[in-house]
């Protein structure tokens, strides 16, 4: 390998062979593509699992699957969607866009970048293999609470090791992103001139490095409790099962923001482009992001109000949680104000971005409701919680990812997509996602518990409607795939600046972006930056 280092060093063309191109690659664009393809496959697998869940719940009574298998589906759906779909999709976008946005030739540590990605398929092979194992896949919920999770079969060890691998992948990916942003910016690309997507990813990467090791520690304790006789979560030995929940959610709450901060960044790129105005309050957006990240470390116990905590703890975590609404409110305000009196057009990425602002805010509001301790005693473990986090994760994180793909697709492929079909895809998703998740608020408020395959007949109508929405949503990956395939094959050629109002370094390189970009540092023109000169 070292032998062709001399001939192979800098700005060569794409590698010839398939293995050289995809398996041994050090190219940020190819690795970004790998991440995005992987995430798409995982969305389909996780989506199929949600299809099983909603099919079973379409009518009261047991219909299709055994209760234990239903629990396997809820557990695996969450693990696959969180660690396999949303997080890798954002990392893929970071891989593609961060070097382009800061004028870097590639990621700071390109070989480690390759490794970060190529651990993931193995981690998920390990996790998904448990579906075919005697005793079945993990079924104790993705949060893996003891003692329930420890009563699972052989699959538990596989799940824990899979999580270790995902953690290694995430930590290396995050280290790479931080090193890239701090060390690889073109001269003149000051920190406060960086596009907001880069800022949000810088902070997200910090969160990842801070909390993925804590998750690794938590699941290691599970492993030793199950297999080696330790008593971390065993009260008889002086431990405490609630301690697991504290450690887990110390990871889990920053994890929530890991899945939404990059979405904030994406929306902050798209809205100014189609409003043809600079982002309102750029600095406030940066500070609000940092503020949310800080608060994410001191609110974890709001996930466990009902398990028992001293009153002072409940109050602290309630107020700290409600504080998050302030920086988040700043963000929503700034997005709306960016659009205010802009010359707006509504191309597909903008539609997804606006849908994000509206629907994510609904998810944010239900989050504030859940933060109120006495109310949470009612909502805990009901479908209201399910509705809440699907509004932030599907209409929040996933919608922003789809928006980002539509927005940067012309840059990646040099082709435009079919605007009419894309709008159909948007409206279809917009309608069915609300049909799917909005009734779940009502179900939760009426008391329907989550993670149970059967329910009282009183909940029948809303469940039926919700399942119709789910089946509608299940068609959207097929639509999306078809639109992208058609665009790649037959789409109209895209300009370097694919959108009229688009600013920022990524639009100064040709579309499709060449295999190697910025082999020498670009000259930064402040007036052409995404967020302009923020000093005045």
């Amino acid at each position: 390998m070292a032998t062709h280092a001399a001939t192979h060093d800098h700005h060569d063309e794409k590698p010839e062979g398939f293995l050289d191109r995809w398996l041994f690659t050090t190219n940020h664009k190819d690795i970004g593509t790998l991440y995005l393809v992987f995430a798409f496959i995982m969305v389909c697998i996780g989506g199929a699992m949600s299809g099983v869940i909603r099919a079973e719940l379409m009518k009261p009574g047991m219909q299709l699957v055994q209760p234990y298998f239903f629990n396997e589906m809820t557990t695996m759906h969450a693990l696959v969607m969180i660690f396999g779909a949303i997080m890798p999709a954002f990392v893929g976008l970071a891989n593609w866009m961060v070097p382009l946005m800061i004028g870097a030739p590639d990621m700071a540590l390109p070989r480690m970048n390759n490794w970060s990605f190529w651990i993931l398929p193995f981690a998920f092979a390990l996790l998904l293999s448990t579906l075919f194992m005697a005793g079945g896949a993990p079924a104790g919920g993705w949060t893996m609470y003891p003692p329930l999770v420890l009563q699972g079969g052989n699959a538990i060890a596989f799940m824990i090791f899979a999580i270790h691998l995902m953690g290694i992948s995430s930590i290396m990916g995050a280290i790479n992103i931080i090193a890239t942003i701090l060390n690889m910016r073109a001269p003149g690309m000051d920190l406060l001139k960086m596009p907001l997507f880069v800022w949000t990813w810088l902070i997200t990467a910090f969160l990842l490095i801070a909390v993925m090791p804590v998750l690794a520690g938590a699941v290691t304790m599970l492993l030793t409790d199950k297999y080696f006789g330790t008593s971390f979560f065993n009260a008889a030995g002086g431990g405490d099962p609630v301690m697991y929940q504290h450690i887990f959610w110390f990871f889990g709450h920053p994890e929530v923001y890991i899945m939404i901060l990059p979405a904030f960044g994406i929306v902050s790129e798209i809205i100014p482009t189609f409003a043809r105005k600079p982002l309102f309050g750029y600095r406030a957006m940066v500070y609000a992001t940092a503020c949310i990240a800080f608060l994410s470390f001191i609110v974890w116990a709001h996930h466990m109000f009902t398990v028992g905590m001293p009153l002072g703890g409940e109050l602290f975590f309630m107020y700290a949680t409600m504080l998050i609404a302030i920086p988040t409110g700043v963000k929503v305000f700034n997005w709306v104000t960016t659009m205010w009196r802009g010359s707006l057009t509504f191309e597909t990425p903008m539609r997804w971005a606006i849908a994000f602002v509206i629907l994510f805010t609904i998810g944010g509001f239900s989050g504030v409701m859940l933060a109120i301790v006495p109310a949470d005693f009612q909502y805990q473990d009901t479908y209201f919680v399910v509705a809440h986090f699907h509004y932030v994760l599907v209409t929040g994180a996933l919608f922003s990812i789809i928006a980002a793909i539509y927005y940067w697709w012309p840059k990646w492929t040099g082709r435009m997509y079919n605007e009419k079909w894309a709008k159909f895809h948007f409206w279809w998703s917009m309608v069915f996602v609300n049909v799917l998740f909005f009734p779940q608020h009502f179900l939760g408020l009426a008391g329907m518990p989550r993670r149970i395959p059967d329910y009282n007949v009183a909940f029948a109508d809303f469940n039926f409607i919700s399942s119709i929405g789910a089946f509608g949503m299940l068609l959207t990956p097929i639509m999306f795939f078809f639109i992208l395939w058609h665009s790649k094959k037959y789409g109209a050629k895209a300009d370097a600046r694919s959108w009229e109002g688009a600013k920022g370094l990524e639009w100064t390189v040709p579309s499709p972006a060449p295999h190697h970009t910025f082999s020498t540092p670009p000259v930064i023109d402040d007036s052409a930056l995404a967020h302009g000169d923020v000093t005045h």
Binding site: M1, A5, F24, W115, F122, L126, P187, G229, M309
Partner: protein
Amino acid sequence: MAQQGAYYVPHGSRWPIVGSIGLFTTVFGAAHWINGNDGWRWVMFAGIAVLLVMMFGWFGTVIRESIGGMYNRQVDTSFRMGMIWFIFSEVMFFGAFFGALFYARSLSVPWLGGEGHGALTHDVLWSSFTAAWPTNGPQGIGGAFETMAPWGIPLLNTLLLLSSGVTITIAHHALKAGQRKKLLAFLAATVLLGATFLFFQAHEYIEAYTHLNLTLQSGIYGSTFFMLTGFHGLHVTLGAIMLTVIWFRCAKGHFDKEHHFGFEAVAWYWHFVDVVWLGLFMFVYVL
């Protein structure tokens, strides 16, 4: 910040995918093994072997490229940032176990003893349990045990690690001053101090298992004691191996006064395990 001039982007590499296969094989074998299929441990060992091959290959490539002068200052800074953030992630990993220790000592054990919030558990399940530390819980999991006295071997180990922090700093200064003999001598002393630490740690474990009945199964005390000191010992082992590699690289003349990031990275790592030990000595042994 980037300086003017050409960027460096390395060529493709097969080692990452080899590493992924190694990781997968290791944990796939390990998961079958701990589920009671003893034969699978060989799969795990095969995976570890693949990982070792990967490390030799990957580090070898990087060392060759580094000696070949292919890395500029920007690459050097990226490596530094990579190492710093890696150590930060390790700090957070230990943080989880220290967190478990603090939580058990200041919350869950007093609650089991009937204090405040946990009163009902105490009354209903284990009303005769009195909160104390060390403990193996209301059911005395693992049986009665004694703890390790802090002022014997643990104190000695503290002194060993602290001195090793001094010797590695002297070695670093020697490297910067170009005094090769002094560098090699003090680096060797550092490895030796680390190895002695590990020897005493092993001795302590044997002592705990054979004479004190203090085992990994000794309730929450045994769990936190062995997981914290065990993971720390593992890190000392890795650090000592890394120092040994660096000793050989110094002997071969890989480093000069300005360019010796490999040395510095390992030195940072060594200081990190040193600091973790101070935390352990305080909170696991003394307090």
